[in-house]
Amino acid sequence: MTIAGGNPSLRIDPPYDSPGYRSSSARAPKQPLVLLEPGLLELGGPVFGEGLVAPGDADLTRQHPGEPIGERINVTGRLLGSDGRPIAGQLVELWQANAAGRYAHEVDRHPAPLDPNFTGAGRCLTGADGTWRFVTIKPGAYPWRNHPNAWRPAHLHFSVFGRVFTERLVTQMYFPGDPLLEFDPIYNSVRDERARKRLVAAFDWETTEEEWALGYRFDIVVGSRLVTATGTLS
């Protein structure tokens, strides 16, 4: 049995071939994907855990001798299955641009300064209730060459492993109220509006620390990627 690759009516995820996102044109598969029932291998991990992560890995503001420039933020959320159950002890990876919108990556040529006190990469394990937490710097927007005067809204990249292979997810978290969101082909590649809005974090007083840092909350829900056979997003 095959399905059309990334058929937007059947998927929460963006279609592979998303014309507004120029890089997808030569990289999106053209042949239909082959639909599988997950088997023993796909339902048997991978699971990470102790030993990969040190406690300081979740604080991106303390990886260098000095403090990074920018707006300090706490970002927290829960890693959940689509059944609502917390996923405990699993790996969450975060990477991002610095406050000026520049990545610590050799190919990034945006003429904004690198910050010697900020790399922009961290990781942590989820707690018993699925909670993860990072301290970092709010990233800046940056230009890209997708179309004339194209700018990416500020975003954090997240990589998570669910309970099994089929729940693997790489995504991006955006900030509420960002005026660039409505123009961003990557954010808007998610066709369903309710699904798209789940990519935007909520400002959160509970994790906002007085005289120190604003807080944002972003729950990450992983699960089987297909929606119902009727194609109804519910």
Partner: protein, 158 residues
């Protein structure tokens, strides 16, 4: 349905994700170890220098970034049959331009009988099955990934 949608890994992920690629799980020459290498190509035949591949062959997980020439290389323990399926490795492909990961499988060319009765290969149109089977002999195999084009690799969805 309340899942968080996928977004592309983007072009600038190396500094955030390559830490795990140093967790090698086998060395060349280990008994039963296989070296697998290949190149990731886009639909115009260009090598993809900003892809990340993840290999899952329980209990072994490995992550590789492609080099500037689109190539990757890993050494893995040779997988065993999995239930009624021939020995294979599950592969996730992430790259700039891919809004969600692609999933494929590496099967082995010297497992002809097992491959012939593999229920997943049987779902694939016969003329495309060879895109899932590595080439090579002994402990050294080649597996290229074609994201698009006349030799497009078979990709799966769950």
């Amino acid at each position: 349905m309340n899942e968080t949608p996928s977004q592309t890994v983007g072009p600038f992920f190396r500094f955030g994700l390559e830490w795990m690629q140093h967790h090698a799980i086998a060395a060349p020459g280990d008994p039963g170890a296989s070296e697998i290498s290949g190149v990731v190509y886009d639909g115009t035949g260009l090598a993809v220098p900003d892809a990340m591949l993840e290999f899952w062959n329980a209990p072994h997980f490995q992550r590789c970034m492609t080099a500037n020439d689109g190539s990757y290389r890993l050494v893995v323990p040779r997988p065993a049959p999995i239930g009624d399926q021939a020995p294979h490795i599950d592969v996730s492909v992430f790259a700039r331009g891919l809004l969600q990961r692609l999933v494929t499988r590496i099967y082995f060319p010297d497992e002809e009988a097992a491959n012939a009765s593999d229920p997943i290969l049987a779902l694939v149109p016969p003329q495309r099955r060879q895109t899932l089977v590595a080439s090579g002999t002994g402990g050294r195999f080649r597996f290229d990934v074609h994201l698009q084009g006349p030799q497009e690799t078979v990709f799966f969805a769950y």
